[in-house]
Symmetry: C2
Subunit: 197 residues, 2 copies
């Protein structure tokens, strides 16, 4: 149930976003969306052609949100190394996982080019953005000259995505933090990373 001063359409999208996050595409039924949004059958099929159409809107929103939050960290204050650290250390609901990365496991999403596109683009953008920051940090001498921006950027994004996996496996959000700490220790050095805490 949702804030009633949202339109039914918006409540439907928001409920779908949550359900995709929690249960994935195959695990999310029209009925569950209706129940959570407080909208009826007729309302849902009036605003959307069906589950897939609704999922498309929800996925695009989830992807746009992720990008917005990341860009806030990337373009924040501080050196490149500090902004990367801020991004990696930002508070996340580790046990819930990543609302975009999660979709990657969903055959129903990956088999559909339209549903898949936002996922692909989001991670492509993220890796490129991080690589640019790493390059910048390297140029300014904050990071090791030997570091390869492209592969390290991919590794860092992987640490986050894998951190979610391990947090859920262990049942503890602290596991996510360990993954990030380990990566930062390797990237900027143990002591430096601790100073930025």
């Amino acid at each position: 149930m949702y804030n009633s001063d949202m339109t039914a359409r918006d409540r439907l999208i928001d409920s779908t976003r949550e359900l995709l996050w929690e249960r994935g595409y195959v695990g999310t039924s029209p009925k569950a969306i209706q129940d959570r949004s407080g909208a009826g059958q007729g309302s849902m099929y009036h605003h959307f052609r069906g589950k897939r159409d609704l999922a498309l809107a929800a996925i695009e929103q989830n992807a746009a949100d992720l990008r917005t939050r990341a860009e806030a960290d990337f373009s924040g204050p501080g050196t490149a190394a500090e902004r990367i650290t801020a991004y990696l250390r930002r508070e996340r609901e580790a046990l819930r996982g990543c609302p975009v990365g999660r979709l990657t496991q969903d055959p129903g999403v990956m088999a559909d080019p339209d549903l898949r596109r936002p996922v692909e683009e989001t991670f492509g953008w993220l890796r490129a953005r991080l690589a640019a920051l790493l390059e910048q940090g390297r140029a300014h001498g904050e990071l090791a000259a030997s570091l390869d921006p492209q592969t390290v950027a991919t590794a860092l994004v992987a640490v986050l995505q894998g951190g979610y996996v391990l947090a859920r496996a262990s049942g503890s959000a602290d596991t996510y933090r360990q993954a990030v700490d380990g990566a930062l220790g390797l990237l900027v050095g143990e002591e430096y990373a601790n100073n930025l805490r």
Copy 2:
């Protein structure tokens, strides 16, 4: 359809292992298991109490296999750093994802303590095993003295799990390799990692 000199029971388990890998627990139906294994309804419910019982056997097998393959790398020849590198670089079907890590996204698995246990134990074991090797490599001077074995071990496992996610997102197994290369570059240095290729 399966090798017909396996018992129906074994074909059922193997088919379930594959389906759990490809489609997850919620996405796998008894009917699909029967079709793939070539066993009928009656046969399946004779050997197993139901989908959950079958999934338990399949998950335990998938977890045991992962452990066996990893241990082969961990206890292979070479220095600690070389064995870790061999493990990280081992050929994997990146686009298929990890058969164990995948289950972490499945509410149906995580909500059931018996199904969840093998997942939790597998990653706990993996992180501990890698941490021990890292510690060893550090003691022998192959790795930086400043490195923290526990958090770095978690980060390395996360890179693999996240590497699967990114490979699927990009549609290319090469993305997985980039994540591993980035991590190895940070761990043992760019040149050293290239030498071990």
